[in-house]
């Protein structure tokens, strides 16, 4: 048995922050941001809008794309849940009218969606579920340090979702090979230091930026390039695919420069490396499903395409999945 991708949808909040908007309040320029990241704009939630609101919209779009109105399980990959406790997935399921189904959150930062695909594939292959809604949604605008140009310029809010069902390996949309990994020595590279059990929130942590998201950009750039390339190569090797066989490489939309470097190191032609990072920025767990929704809607992803998805994120974590794109 295998997990078959059979629906995709995405959603970004209406409000847009352009590079010019950021240049008004930060020591940066449109040129500085574009040359280092390729990002022109990012979407941000309005006051009162939260991760679950975006997740519900993307989830509904994916259910519609799959032509179904029920699933047995909802998994939400996120690093910015509505509350530290409880998980956000049950509320998302309820809002989608998916009453009393199994629902939980999964946390692997920017690799969350790929880890989610592997997780739900396990549920489907073992028969614990027949159909699953997997959503990646994040609102990093709520946790970044707005005075840090290294992160404020990079991250955007959004959600993306896929529906997967139980099927067989030879069906289009079957998840054919996985690679997952982590390196806990590099925890400090991508972190919100305070607010967990090690450094509980206090007046003290609130006076520093420790409750805000922080990233060591240079080291992340290097690690992301290294591990996204290695992980994508691992799934190619498992399937006996050559880099030239890949019709569409959908990497985590962290940064245009990382995606270009990974494409180059893999040996995948630049026109086969999909990018929407210029329009949405780094949307963390939403990044890959949002890119899939965009690429599918734009006709860039066509039925029968050999597709490799690869992510790198906090933890650090990384992972890849390969599939043949289905008719949606």
């Amino acid at each position: 048995m295998s997990a078959i991708l059979c629906g995709v949808g995405g959603y970004v909040p209406a409000s847009v922050t352009t590079n010019a908007d950021l240049a008004e309040r930060l020591d940066t320029t449109d040129e500085w941001i574009r040359s280092r990241t390729g990002i022109r704009q990012r979407h941000v939630v309005a006051s009162g809008e939260s991760t679950s609101d975006l997740a519900v919209r993307a989830g509904a779009a994916a259910l519609k794309s799959a032509g179904v109105d029920s699933v047995d399980l909802v998994v939400l990959a996120t690093t910015t849940p509505d509350h530290p406790c409880p998980a956000t997935a049950p509320a998302v399921a309820r809002a989608l009218g998916l009453d009393r189904v199994a629902a939980f959150d999964l946390s692997a930062v920017c690799s969350g969606f790929v880890y989610g695909l592997a997780t739900v594939a396990g549920f489907l292959e073992t028969g614990l579920a027949e159909r699953v809604l997997l959503i990646g949604a994040d609102t990093f605008s709520t946790i970044i340090d707005p005075t840090d140009r290294g992160t404020a310029a990079v991250f955007g809010d959004g959600a993306g979702a896929v529906v997967l069902r139980r099927g067989t390996d030879d069906e289009p949309g079957a998840l054919l090979a996985f690679d997952l990994g982590s390196d806990g020595d590099l925890t400090e590279l991508i972190t919100v230091r305070a607010g967990g059990s090690k450094y509980p929130l206090s007046v003290g942590t609130m006076t520093t930026a420790d409750h805000r998201f922080a990233m060591q950009g240079k080291a992340v750039y290097r690690q992301a390039t290294r591990w996204m390339t290695a992980s994508a190569n691992a799934v190619l090797a498992r399937l006996g695919w050559q880099p030239g066989d890949v019709d569409c490489f959908v990497g985590h939309q962290a940064n245009q420069r990382i995606l270009e470097a990974v494409g180059r190191d893999l040996g995948v032609a630049p026109d086969r490396v999909f990018m929407n990072v210029d329009r949405v920025g780094n949307t963390v767990a939403a990044s890959i499903p949002l890119a899939l929704a965009d690429a599918s809607a734009a006709g860039v992803l066509r039925p029968g395409d050999k597709v490799v998805l690869t992510a790198f994120g906090g933890g650090t974590t990384w992972g890849s999945v390969a599939l043949i794109w289905p008719e949606l």
């Binding site: 040359s35 280092r36 240079k218 290097r222 390039t225 420069r257 470097a261």
Partner: protein, 82 residues
């Protein structure tokens, strides 16, 4: 490998970065040479590959110009050598 040879190779790598002018000073910062932070990492990764060494993450902030990089490569190669 002698310092001079390492320097010559590193200078060639730096000249290969987009936007870098022909004349490169070994003590001017990478930023001043037109090598932005991410191109610096590309450069380091190329140096790692070509010289068969590894630059630990914690050393990244200390390598800000060509001379720093040459010194690092020379010392790393000494360590590798038995």
């Amino acid at each position: 490998m002698e310092q001079e040879k390492i320097r010559a190779m590193v200078v060639e790598f730096v000249r290969g970065v987009d936007g870098v002018t022909e004349k490169v000073s070994t003590t001017a910062s990478f930023e001043e040479l037109g090598v932005d932070s991410m191109s610096t990492i590309d450069l380091l990764m190329k140096v790692e590959r070509e010289f068969g060494i590894e630059v630990p993450d914690e050393r990244l902030p200390m390598i800000v110009n060509i001379q720093d990089l040459v010194n690092f490569v020379a010392s790393a190669q000494q360590e590798v050598r038995p």
